[in-house]
Symmetry: C2
Subunit: 363 residues, 2 copies
Amino acid sequence: MAITIAVDCMGGDHGPAVTVPAVFDFLRRERDCSVILIGREEALRAPILAASAEFGIIECRDRFHLHHAGEVVGMDEPVASALRNKKDSSMRVMANLVKDGSAQAGLSAGNTGALMAISRFVLKTLPGIDRPAIAGILPTSTGHIYVLDLGANVDCQPEHLQQFGIMGALLVSALEHHERPSVGLLNIGEEAIKGNDVVKRAAELLKDSDLNFHGNVEGTDIWKGATDVVVCDGFVGNVLLKSSEGLAQMISGGLKEEFSRNILTKMAALAALPVIRAFKRRFDHRSYNGAGLLGLKGIVFKSHGSADAFAFRCALQRAAEAARERLPEKIAARMALTRNTVAHSSPATMQPAAPSVEQVLAA
Amino acid sequence: MAITIAVDCMGGDHGPAVTVPAVFDFLRRERDCSVILIGREEALRAPILAASAEFGIIECRDRFHLHHAGEVVGMDEPVASALRNKKDSSMRVMANLVKDGSAQAGLSAGNTGALMAISRFVLKTLPGIDRPAIAGILPTSTGHIYVLDLGANVDCQPEHLQQFGIMGALLVSALEHHERPSVGLLNIGEEAIKGNDVVKRAAELLKDSDLNFHGNVEGTDIWKGATDVVVCDGFVGNVLLKSSEGLAQMISGGLKEEFSRNILTKMAALAALPVIRAFKRRFDHRSYNGAGLLGLKGIVFKSHGSADAFAFRCALQRAAEAARERLPEKIAARMALTRNTVAHSSPATMQPAAPSVEQVLAA
């Protein structure tokens, strides 16, 4: 199946300077794919010319289209303003193109909160899914691991965590072609008695589902790759993600400082360089770029704001693979089955959903 | 003031082989301190002889006492069993000695859950404190930072987070002699609108207190040392702590693997060794060992279970400093002031406290 990806070229810390070359590198590699480049025409023209010189644009000239969008959502712009006032933002146009079927997936490196709110508003949530979630990938000592939710839902009920488990497992199946990925529940102790009430009840729901549920995992287990998927609420997931980024930066910055202290340490750095490079290749976070916004009636991926062209291309490939595997259809089919089962569970445990996008707009 | 520390010598992964030499190293350095070594006499005798040979026991022979305790709480033993069945455990005896004033502080490297439950049962909670919390120290790129709660309270109300902020600030004042330490609230975005309801309300309470409240901090900010104290609930704090440990282990293990891959990389490792050592000294987690159990009518510190003698001695020094500064008295005095202020706050926002130790025992 031919896949078209709608790309918000304006988002991220570097905008078109990164997104456009990444698109052409992607097109050269994925011959079944087309891309709609979305953004201000005047901002995209020069990077497209530069990329065409670099990647030889002729072979893929029929596989990209420029779609002008006059506005850009700022990286720190409040969600409500992005949603209410910027109907012609590159992000909004991207979501519209996914919605109307012009594209099978969308990608943006822009403001995460705005991307989730716009995607949810335009595409709507799949039946059976109460809350869309953001699923990202972290490197582990044995490979990598999918973690969700990374920040879309700060207050979760057990049923939401169960839904995250189902969506995460289907994402791994789609991207890794892995039949029955194992799912862990992030907790603060492996024993079933530990953790708060939401997590305890979520463990029961996950155990009762037909997932390959591994049970509780602790913070240390994530980096050992104890499971294929780890489920947690968005507050915990976001703290986990950001504190890990911060710690990795601190370690790498500290090593750099020690290696550049004097002439002797600089010579040591020269000797160690090939080893450090091999290490960096192995745990290269750029190759894990591309977080899926799961639970929507359409595929939207989020690139890290600071992504370079290599990282952005990795996210494009993930979005294309999710489209090839028709991920939303698979989640919808799976949720239809689950709803028949969980219809018996006590409605008293369900709490009112988070404020909807409509409520945010009305606020 | 002469300080006596009650030390549970049986806890931790290594028991007396680590705790006893650490005690004598501590005694040699801190001339105003005495130690009560608690544990099975037959298990302590040999390490005491060995340490006396190493550290020259004569000069401190009047400053240590052996206190026999026949039982030991297992590292994975359920909390209820440790509390109910082991009245003569080294951990319980330690808490009793703090309670009856024989010691001004206690230290254990044993099972954290059991240590908190036993300390809370024996010592009781200070007036004005709903929930004792565990405050630990993490290295940052600019120094170090105190984080609480690290796992004692998995479901917190805004008032608890405010109390953690107050106790954390007083701990930093006591240990670092820092007049007005800055306090940050761990959140998933710096803007006040982000985060869940508990965190939003906690931010208001912290702002209204007379603390040096910095506002929200994110996961990345912790490692930059954005504040002196970071406050979060115990679930989030425990995930933060354990995932950071896991990530640091993964990075260090991955570097070791790359450096020992072949003869060339091993030669590079030799060249880089002094730099790696300097780096390790700088971020040596062992020097940050010793987490305070705050909010009790007495001082109890927790050493990491895997601590070596150097790390255990650091924890002993922290406990001694907290005793010199009469930390519980200061917390009690500060809470007496706060209670007068917060008595006006809506009681509807207060939720029932976590199950008490008595309830756990009755279960």
